[in-house]
């Protein structure tokens, strides 16, 4: 049953040292506020799952919170490389990080299998690719009907998934629209699901019958955090802050500059600051 609470409490009650955690969002609706709260609370030894770890995972890895990364594309979308992730993988700074790498197709299938309660996913994938040689979790199965050999990967089943969404109603049902990504699967695959939302409304009475909705009984905790996806965006609320993604390339290039930026913008900040950051990016409703 979804319980409404402040973000600080939602993160404290649902994330633990050593957890396998997914902060999902496919460019759109990235749960930045939740990730920053996790950074402030200083969790350790996390296994971080995400198809497209971008700035927030760069920050979490740079702060030494992750022992392992499970991902399919570790880049700053449209900008370049993740410099903190690179520093961890190439130089072990501030700690070494184990890497389990997949393709998008495999991870999407693995989340879906997790949501479906299956132990693994099968796909026509990885043919000729190098990843099966370096990732022992990529195996194969033979179709019992046609004999076709298919790739097999374990399902993804996080201890906790964090996502950001447009709105919740008073009961705690959650509505996601626009580029819906992998969030529904990631929430349903996890033991606990924590959602930050732009706003809480009375009900979804006027909504289209086929919208992407997570019923309140699939969600553990909801926190209202306007602007909580920044510098990612929330469709219908505010635009992507592309300039921030470009700026991150400079900030993250240097260890000291990175630490100073984190101090000013994350450690000394609070969830309420996100609303201010998106003021100039708001779209007309």
């Amino acid at each position: 049953m979804a319980r409404f609470m402040p973000l600080e409490q939602a993160v404290r009650e649902n994330l633990k040292d050593g957890d396998t955690a997914a902060f999902e969002g496919f460019t759109h609706l990235i749960p930045t506020a939740a990730a920053h709260e996790a950074i402030r609370q200083g969790f350790k030894d996390l296994t971080l799952i995400r198809m497209t770890p971008d700035i927030v995972y760069d920050q979490m890895v740079g702060m030494g919170m992750a022992k392992k990364l499970l991902f399919s594309y570790a880049g700053n979308p449209g900008v370049g490389l993740l410099r903190r992730v690179r520093d961890a993988v190439e130089n072990g700074w501030p700690r070494s990080v184990e890497v389990e790498e997949h393709s998008h197709a495999a991870m999407a299938n693995a989340y879906e299998a997790g949501a479906a309660g299956l132990p693994f996913a099968a796909l026509r994938g990885y043919r000729g690719a190098g990843l099966p040689e370096v990732n022992p979790n990529i195996k194969s199965v033979t179709c019992p009907f046609t004999g076709e050999k298919l790739a097999a990967v374990p399902s993804v089943r996080p201890d906790v998934t964090f996502i950001h969404a447009q709105k919740a109603d008073k009961k705690g049902n959650v509505l996601i629209e626009g580029i819906i990504g992998i969030q529904k699967e990631a929430a349903l695959a996890a033991k606990r699901a924590v959602v930050t939302v732009e706003e809480v409304v009375e009900d979804f009475a006027d909504a289209h019958p086929n919208l992407c909705i997570l019923p309140h009984w699939t969600i553990t905790a909801i926190a209202e955090v306007p602007g909580g996806a920044h510098p990612s965006y929330t469709h219908g609320y505010y635009d992507r802050d592309n300039a921030s993604y470009l700026e991150w390339d400079d900030v993250s290039a240097d260890r000291d500059r990175f630490r100073a930026w984190m101090e000013d913008n994350v450690l000394k900040a609070k969830a309420e600051d996100f609303a201010v950051r998106v003021e100039k990016l708001r779209v007309a409703k």
Binding site: G78, H104, L123, I180, A243
Partner: protein
């Protein structure tokens, strides 16, 4: 004649390879520009698909990422990421997968994963994302990249996505039924695979380009077709379309600063 840069020539030559009948899975960067120039000039009915789930998108400005809101706003429909990879890509509905590359070899195998050893990399690159299955499940694959000795190498460090392997019928032997890379468009030339060996061969050079220029920026010994054509220079409409698109894009991304 119009003045144009090698990069503009590359994008425009790449755009010409696409038709209104194509269903194109678009990689970010150079492919994205080419696909949208095609849509805005000779291929208005092309279906552009980005891996974030947007189908039939018609962005007014080029997206910075594969998941910009502009793609969803202008799409016919937006589906979830698992649906995108399962029903649309794996289901065989993509006619052209359009990829960029950090490192490529003569058989169209691509590396965007690491420079150096996988476990102790010299440079950790972002990785494959959608590319491994775009390369194997799209009916055919086009690749576009600017030529350089660092990018076009004798031997790639990692097989992020499979082209023609060591050449010949290696795709078939691995159970891959699709055609694989059939076209490589660089800033200097247009390349197609040899029908037998599958080695990329220069079939057309862009205006003003010499064989020496192609060879000097390529890490393997280049094969040229017996009859070498000259790529037609960009038309005024093509150049204007590309430049307007870039100007709109720059203005839009700058506008979000602060």
């Amino acid at each position: 004649m119009n003045d144009f840069t090698p990069n503009e020539m590359m994008t425009i030559a790449a755009s010409r390879a696409l038709t209104s009948q194509d269903v194109c899975f678009v990689g970010i960067g150079a492919p994205s520009a080419a696909c949208n120039v095609a849509r805005l000039t000779h291929a208005p009915d092309i279906t552009l698909i980005y891996e974030s789930g947007t189908i039939g998108t018609a962005p007014d400005v080029l997206p910075l990422s594969i998941g910009d809101g502009e793609l969803c706003d202008t799409a016919l429909t937006t589906v979830s990421v698992p649906e995108m990879f399962r029903y649309w890509l794996q289901g065989g509905r993509i006619t052209i997968g359009f990829l960029g590359a950090a490192q490529i070899d003569r058989f169209g195998n691509i590396n965007t994963t690491v420079i150096g050893d996988y476990h102790t990399p010299k440079v950790r690159l972002p990785g494959g994302g959608g590319a491994p299955e775009i390369a194997s499940s799209s009916q055919e694959v086009y690749i576009t990249m600017a030529q350089s000795k660092r990018g076009m190498v004798e031997k790639i460090d990692f097989f992020t996505s499979f082209g023609h392997g060591d050449g010949g019928d290696q795709r078939k032997k691995l159970g891959i039924e699709t055609k694989g890379p059939t076209l490589l468009i660089t800033d200097l030339a247009i390349w197609k695979p040899d029908p037998e060996t599958k080695e990329f061969t220069v079939v057309s050079m862009h205006p003003g380009v010499t064989r020496e220029m192609v060879q000097e920026t390529c890490g393997w010994k280049v094969k040229f077709a017996d009859t070498l054509e000259e790529t037609p220079a960009p038309s005024e409409l093509e150049l204007k379309t590309l430049r307007d698109l870039k100007a709109r894009t720059e203005a839009a991304h700058k506008g979000q600063a602060g």
